[in-house]
Symmetry: C2
Subunit: 415 residues, 2 copies
């Protein structure tokens, strides 16, 4: 089914009434000129008090999915499995869906793309990546795979808020986290954000629209900020850097794409260092246009609702992701490259130096030890020492290389 009444009102069935759902509901009520109304809202907990008329709410998904008057499903719930069920049922029934559930989408991307092909029904999820910043349709429409050299971005607002509070305002980690939670930028259970899972999920969405790569988040190299020590942030400042959690998708010499999410030292004057608090920012490098930069709020109810709204607008003219790059010469993930890292730990004994191709420097103090060097990606993908509590692994500004000149190795590293 396509939405026939492109000029008329949209009738929405809404799953979820959390901060984004409620923001969307408020906006649609305040802006009747937008021409969309929420007819029914499916929630999990009927007992929770809600700021909308109780007659709108139901706990029965079928009351939305079977309602012929509802011509769009907006899915904004946190339970990924339930979200996938509702979304796939809606698509099967020919109801276009707008979703913000990046975890659900990233983990089921293959199946969801197949479902869109099979049903011919639109499934849009601009809010799933960088909230308010128009990223996915831009990558789909503006940037030829062939010419796209690099994406690098701050894509998780919660961790960026925490890191900014630590670096700019001198907060300790725990203090910064609880502040982020109070401000509504971190979940009650913040582990998906803190451990980099959320950023990895967003990288999956970027990869398919930028390069036509369908990856599962578990395939990607990622970590979050739980290992970052206050001393690491101090060290960064001393060196003229900021620590940021950066998602990268870098075209390698052979045309494959190295994709990873890791904390990174970025130059204090750089664009990404300037992305502060709950903001997200994405650098897009193409061989023609050089570096472009998109920046905006990456968390919060209204910024996320604004992306949902732009998807609803796109549905009025039956917009669908074409996944152009997937059908037209997609790139492949690269698993053969070296990372230039600084590893921090309580003792050098916690850092397996034999895994490194090259060690440039080690510094040992009572407080914290650091090893700087070059390591092959597979030495990280196959191990978990660098994910252990108290260990931080932070990329240098120029994070990857494709070759290590092994003959110079021992001399250079002094091994």
């Amino acid at each position: 089914m396509s939405i026939q009444n492109t000029k008329g009102n949209l009738t929405i069935g809404l799953f979820g009434f959390g901060i984004v759902g409620e923001s969307l509901f408020n906006v649609l009520n305040e802006k009747p000129t937008f021409g969309a109304r929420v007819k029914r809202i499916c929630i999990k907990d009927a007992e929770k008090p809600r700021s909308a008329p109780s007659s709108l709410f139901t706990t029965d998904p079928d009351e939305l999915l079977n309602d012929k008057e509802i011509d769009v499903i907006v899915e904004l719930i946190s339970d990924s499995e339930a979200a996938y069920r509702f979304v796939s049922t809606a698509l099967h029934r020919g109801k276009p869906v707008v979703s913000a559930s990046k975890k659900m989408i990233a983990e089921n991307l293959d199946a969801l793309i197949a479902l869109q092909k099979q049903t011919g029904t639109s499934f849009l999820y601009e809010a799933g990546c960088c909230a308010s910043i128009p990223v996915l349709r831009n990558l789909e429409e503006y940037y030829d795979n062939d010419l796209l050299q690099r994406l690098s971005g701050v894509v998780n607002g919660s961790t960026n808020y925490i890191l900014t509070r630590q670096a700019k305002d001198g907060y300790k980690f725990e203090q910064a986290l609880s502040d982020a939670q109070e401000a509504g930028f971190a979940e009650a259970d913040p582990s998906l954000d803190l451990e980099g899972v959320d950023a990895a999920n967003k990288l999956v969405l970027l990869l398919v629209h930028a390069y036509g790569i369908v990856a599962h988040p578990a395939q990607l190299l990622y970590s979050g900020i739980t290992g970052i020590h206050d001393a690491d942030i101090k060290l960064a400042r001393e060196k003229g850097y900021e620590v940021k959690l950066i998602a990268h998708a870098l075209k390698t010499g052979g045309g494959d794409v190295a994709a990873f999410v890791l904390p990174q030292f970025v130059e204090r004057q750089s664009r990404l260092a300037g992305v502060a608090y709950e903001y997200n920012g994405l650098e897009i490098e193409s061989s023609l246009a050089d570096v472009q930069f998109l920046c905006g709020k990456g968390a919060g109810g209204y910024p996320t609702a604004s992306a949902v709204l732009s998807d609803l607008s796109a549905l009025r003219y039956n917009y669908r992701y074409e996944y152009k790059k997937l059908t037209n010469a997609p790139s492949r993930l690269c698993d053969d490259y070296y990372l230039h890292v600084c590893v921090g730990a309580r003792s050098l004994l916690h850092i397996p130096q034999e895994h490194f191709e090259q060690v440039e420097e080690w510094v040992s103090s009572e407080r914290r030890c650091y090893l700087s060097g070059t390591i092959h990606v597979n030495k990280l993908l196959g191990t978990d020492w660098w994910r252990k509590p108290g260990v931080s692994l932070i990329l240098y500004p120029d994070p990857i290389s494709h070759e290590v000149v092994t003959s110079d190795l021992h001399e250079y590293a002094g091994i």
Copy 2:
């Protein structure tokens, strides 16, 4: 005619072989996977040596416009009147057109919109505003008029290059201009850029896609950087500002839009101050998403060609600007507001103080005199003293207000 063979090759008729035309030609040759070839190139001067096979060139526009095999016209010439003739002929003949001629488009916007409606043929011009930055389709697709509060941006690469050279590298104006010309960021006749006409033309394009306002550049308040004195740039630095030429489209309290292009003091730490050299940058403020920022190269052959390329991609799926905001509750231009300005001149006698609603400060030195105050927009639109040689008019960071508390006027200003 729409392009039927969406997967097949595009056959292009190219008008113009300047820096952008040549860049586009090179890219299409180097990237056969893009699936477009230039069949014929119409130029004005047959004697000029060209870096492409001479068999491609003609001076007869009809050889392109009458060629049934050519399914897209790309128009990249500097002569606006000729450009308008070629574009309108092509649209009448059902050939979609991609153009970068902002002057021609801004001056004929009304007629070109009518022509698109009448013929049903696509006319795309992403390269006409901010070169490589995806702006126009984003404004058309992502940002609801109702929610869009403000656009403010550096939209002219040449003047920004010159101002950056003056502020960062200590160049004098003449030296900065000739450097910009050598680097290919300013025309041999740079007057359109220097006098703000080019930026005003781009503001016209922004206004129609952001707010549904069809304006003629001559209606807008604008100036360039020819009046900016080295002392003004020094003054800005002393106050912690940079001088930038900024295009604004600001929603006023009543919902109308104040639109103008003027030099402005911007805080040194602000996003727009960070837009350096030939870069352009646009802040987009919406009531939901808050401030977003798009930045990228705003001049140069390849960056501009990349926008042309993205329009060619969009033509593959028959994309057309819908001018949604024009049909759906367009905004109107506002002509009742006050500007907060700093005027510099050789003598205070060159500044008609009686035009000001409020004078906050005047400073007189041997080198240059300054008057800071508030002036109604109509006092500028109706006069030209502020455009005279040696006079600079620079906006303060918070440039407009809608009311002046007149009762306090004389007291406050000390008049």
